[in-house]
């Protein structure tokens, strides 16, 4: 019994030591890995003296925020997908931000109408093709279901947010029934069960397991920048689909201010900083994403892939079809 008492005393003392709060700070719940977040915010802290604290998790942060309600310590949310941003605003967990800086830095179609969320970067869902076996070929997303490519395509899980967003956009453009026929054809063309991340797809093309793969733009660049993995990318080319019609599918990473943010002023300062030249440059040069701010250039490597036309489907349409896309994936048994 004594030990129980002693332990609870220990636990409480630990709790109180962690509950201490410093003066000027911003607390972030992040779906992005800390190694991508920390370098950017480190500079912010250096310039402003505002401390930035981060909790990173890939799952469940929205739920945690909901449960914490008005007592939450989180001020800012960072996500890697439009659906999550919309989920936050739909659940009433965010608040509008009035900032001329944000308005100036983020183009209108990349932020919420009511200013509840803002995109930080955009990323394209590219098609990677084998240089040798797909020489001279350009593809549309629609071609993924062409029986000609049976056994030639690789992709990551259909349930991954990036895949779901692409399928949502297909539903928006073609309607549910046609999109489903497309997804079934796509599944029949797979060289292997959906698996691995986007990097793994490039590796699979390099090794000859497939000729075509779906992947986000920056993964290709990240592989080129990795000395040991660079060889995989050498036999693979990156292409932008649907350039003759609606353009390539684009998703965003973004941020939102929580409804009960305690450090609102500092948090908005950080939001403005993240859309500013310095942070946008970092996203562009180090993460190889497309910056949202006009005037900030994409990195040389990304620029070498050429200009492209982006699908201008509203972000809200992508998020709105998400449930349908998930149901379709189950019906088609895409991952099984």
């Amino acid at each position: 019994m004594k030990s129980v008492v002693a332990l609870s005393a220990l636990a409480i003392s630990l709790v109180s030591s962690f509950a201490a709060i410093a003066a000027q700070e911003v607390n972030i719940y992040s779906y992005r890995q800390p190694y991508l977040v920390k370098p950017v915010v480190a500079e912010f802290t250096q310039k402003t003296g505002i401390k930035v604290n981060v909790v990173f998790a890939k799952k469940g942060l929205v739920e945690r925020l909901t449960r914490e309600g008005k007592h939450t310590k989180a001020d800012l949310l960072l996500t890697t997908d439009i659906s999550r941003l919309m989920e936050l605003t739909d659940k009433g967990l965010t608040q509008p931000v009035k900032s001329t800086v944000l308005k100036r830095n983020v183009p209108a179609h990349l932020r919420d109408e009511d200013n509840e969320w803002f995109a930080l970067t955009t990323r394209v869902r590219n098609l990677y093709l084998s240089k040798e076996r797909m020489a001279g070929v350009t593809l549309r997303y629609e071609d993924l279901s062409d029986p000609k490519y049976q056994g030639k395509i690789c992709t990551r899980s259909g349930k991954h947010p990036y895949s779901v967003a692409l399928i949502s956009s297909m539903i928006a453009h073609h309607g549910y029934d046609d999109a489903k026929v497309w997804l079934e054809g796509f599944k029949d063309n797979l060289a292997r069960r959906p698996q691995g991340n986007d990097r793994a797809q490039i590796k699979a093309i390099a090794q000859g397991q497939c000729d075509i793969a779906l992947g986000n733009s920056y993964y290709f660049g990240k592989i080129l920048m990795n000395d040991l993995q660079k060889v995989w990318a050498e036999s693979v080319k990156i292409t932008f689909p649907n350039q003759q019609d609606r353009g390539a599918h684009v998703n965003v990473s973004g941020m939102a201010l929580t409804k009960y943010a305690k450090n609102k002023k500092a948090a908005i300062k950080l939001m403005e900083y993240l859309t500013g030249n310095s942070a946008q440059n970092f996203y562009s040069e180090i993460n190889l994403e497309y910056p949202v701010k006009k005037g900030v250039r994409v990195s040389k490597l990304v620029a070498s892939w050429g200009e492209f036309k982006a699908d201008n489907l509203a972000m809200s349409a992508i998020a709105g079809n998400r449930q349908l896309a998930l149901k379709m994936l189950d019906e088609v048994k895409f991952d099984l």
Partner: protein, 543 residues
């Protein structure tokens, strides 16, 4: 039984177990919410496939862990052979390996683009996947193999403890009465060790049921996948909770079948303390096969992944060295220590109550406290968050009512939440291991100590504790190592800027860049070695 416990014991035990059960209760409560027909949609589409995969993985891992763990335990405990002194502790090492790291390394090795298949292609000049057959590592059987490699040490450890605690006089008697070594193993040792083995198998089954990292990495959809899909994809906690409840039901059925099998058995034994253990001396071919078997398991489950990690860590040392490693190690160690101590204390109290009480339902507290282990980590984390944040809100309102500023989220927003999450998840290990040790202590000791005037608490401390010490040690070790590796609960429940080794490694593994987290993974393993060596010494001391 014959001892009259005063009201404190049952009250305390029930209260404690209800606290430990509250996260699950919260989940069950959630499952009555509206799920917008998602459950029926799943049932009509993918759920039967998921269910089949789940059963295959759970049963596959349980059976193969037993087939590897029990023979190893018996060989080490009862036989003498070359290098035995090394294997005694070496076979525990795989425990320190996080399953997601092992899965990652083997996939890298055996997938189409991996070195093994590449080499085969070059050697036989095959051009494409159609030219030859090679097993698919990312499959149900691959997942079974990976989980077995990291989970078999449970069976090995608990079975070995059971074999060591066995009275040699029983074995001597059996030999004197004409049993061959094999017969004496099957007719005496194995039945005596059965409670411990079945506890270990139950733990292994629960762990594989709750696993998300490996099956997700292998894209083998199971019930856990469905739980995450429904909750994070469809945004329906109700449907996810319903699936979790289903998983628990599957588990209860499996465990009850085993319990039923030995419900009529009562096994007690005494060691006099003056026995000398003599091991069977293995020679020649037998010794060779034994060493080969031990080396193979050790090589696959530990050596190969560990060497790969070291290789990666050297290649990427500059990018992955981080001066905060020491802080992360301290965080991990501190957390794991607190959690193991809590689990052991709770395990002792609940098992002891169950032993002494004469109430019909006295087995329930320890039973319901053990259910947290089978829940996928993130779901459990939400389960913990629901009651804790509820309490936080009440507390803050109380403060406001008193006209003071509330303390904020002191329960759900602090380290306390992680500790609770870990204890709820891992107390099953402690309860299982301690109960099986208690079961071997003859009730006549309870009678004697009561007759001599000891109170229950005195009896626990002075009589039983020394006897079940080994079971406690084994349990503490398992809880410690699991806490070092545990991930999903830590990720979601941690306070700001709180990083453990596991969360640090995971941010890279989740991005399929293990090379950058390899160094930290090595530290997890090394830190895990310390208690392993400790435990092993205490197990071997008297024998």
């Amino acid at each position: 039984m014959f001892i009259n416990l005063n009201i404190k014991w049952p009250a305390f035990s029930w209260l404690l177990s209800l606290l430990l059960f509250s996260p699950l209760l919260a989940i069950i409560w959630q499952s009555f919410g509206d799920d917008h027909n998602i459950f029926s949609h799943l049932w009509q589409t993918v759920l039967p496939d998921y269910l089949l995969n789940t059963l295959l993985v759970v049963i596959g891992v349980a059976v193969s862990s037993m087939l590897i763990g029990v023979p190893l335990a018996w060989l080490i405990a009862m036989c003498q052979f070359p290098m035995r002194g090394f294997f005694v502790w070496a076979l525990l090492l795989p425990l320190a390996m996080p399953s997601y790291v092992v899965a990652y390394i083997y996939t890298d090795l055996f997938e189409y683009a991996g070195p093994v298949q590449r080499w085969l292609r070059e050697f036989f000049s095959w051009q494409s996947p159609q030219d030859y057959w090679f097993f698919e590592i990312r499959s149900v059987s691959g997942a079974i193999a990976m989980l077995t490699l990291v989970l078999f040490p449970y069976v090995y450890l608990l079975a070995r403890t059971a074999f060591l605690e066995q009275s040699t006089s029983l074995l001597h008697s059996s030999r004197m009465l004409g049993c061959s070594p094999w017969q004496s193993f099957v007719r005496i040792s194995l039945p005596l060790a059965r409670p411990a083995i079945s506890v270990a198998i139950a733990l292994v089954a629960m762990e594989s049921l709750a696993d998300f990292a490996v099956v997700n990495y292998f894209s083998v959809p199971t019930l856990t996948t469905a739980v995450y899909d429904t909750w994070l994809g469809y945004g329906s906690l109700a449907a996810a909770a319903r699936l979790s409840a289903m998983m628990i039901a599957v588990l209860f059925v499996l465990i009850s079948i085993e319990r039923l099998g030995r419900s009529k058995q009562q096994l007690y034994q005494k060691t006099t303390g003056q026995e000398t253990k003599e091991r069977f001396e293995l020679r020649g071919f037998n010794a060779f096969i034994t060493v080969l078997f031990c080396s193979l398991i050790f090589g696959l489950a530990f050596l190969l992944p560990f060497v790969t990690l070291i290789d990666l860590a050297i290649d990427y040392f500059e990018q992955s060295w981080n001066e905060q490693f020491i802080q992360y190690s301290i965080n991990s160690l501190m957390l794991a220590t607190i959690v193991s101590v809590c689990c052991i204390v709770i395990g002792l109290l609940l098992s002891f109550y169950k032993r002494l009480s004469n109430q019909r339902y006295a087995y329930i507290p320890s039973k319901i406290s053990s259910t947290g282990y089978a829940l996928p980590g993130t779901v459990l984390a939400i389960g913990v968050l629901i009651p804790l944040s509820f309490l936080d809100h009440q507390l803050n309102e109380l403060f406001e009512w008193l006209g003071r500023e509330g303390p904020g989220l002191i329960l759900s927003g602090s380290l306390f939440a992680i500790v609770v999450g870990y204890v709820v998840r891992f107390v099953a290990i402690a309860i299982g291991s301690i109960e099986s040790s208690f079961n071997k202590v003859t009730p006549s000791l309870d009678m004697v100590s009561t007759t001599l005037g000891l109170s229950p608490l005195q009896m626990l401390i002075r009589v039983h504790l020394p006897l079940v010490r080994k079971g406690c040690f084994a349990a503490a070790l398992l809880v410690f190592i699991e806490s070092m590796k545990e991930l999903p609960a830590a990720l979601l429940l941690r306070p700001f800027n709180f990083e453990t080794l596991a969360t640090y490694v995971y941010q890279y593994v989740s991005d399929e860049q293990l090379e950058l987290g390899a160094l930290a993974a090595i530290v997890i393993v090394m830190v895990g070695l310390i208690p392993l060596i400790f435990l092993n010494r205490s197990l071997e001391q008297q024998h």
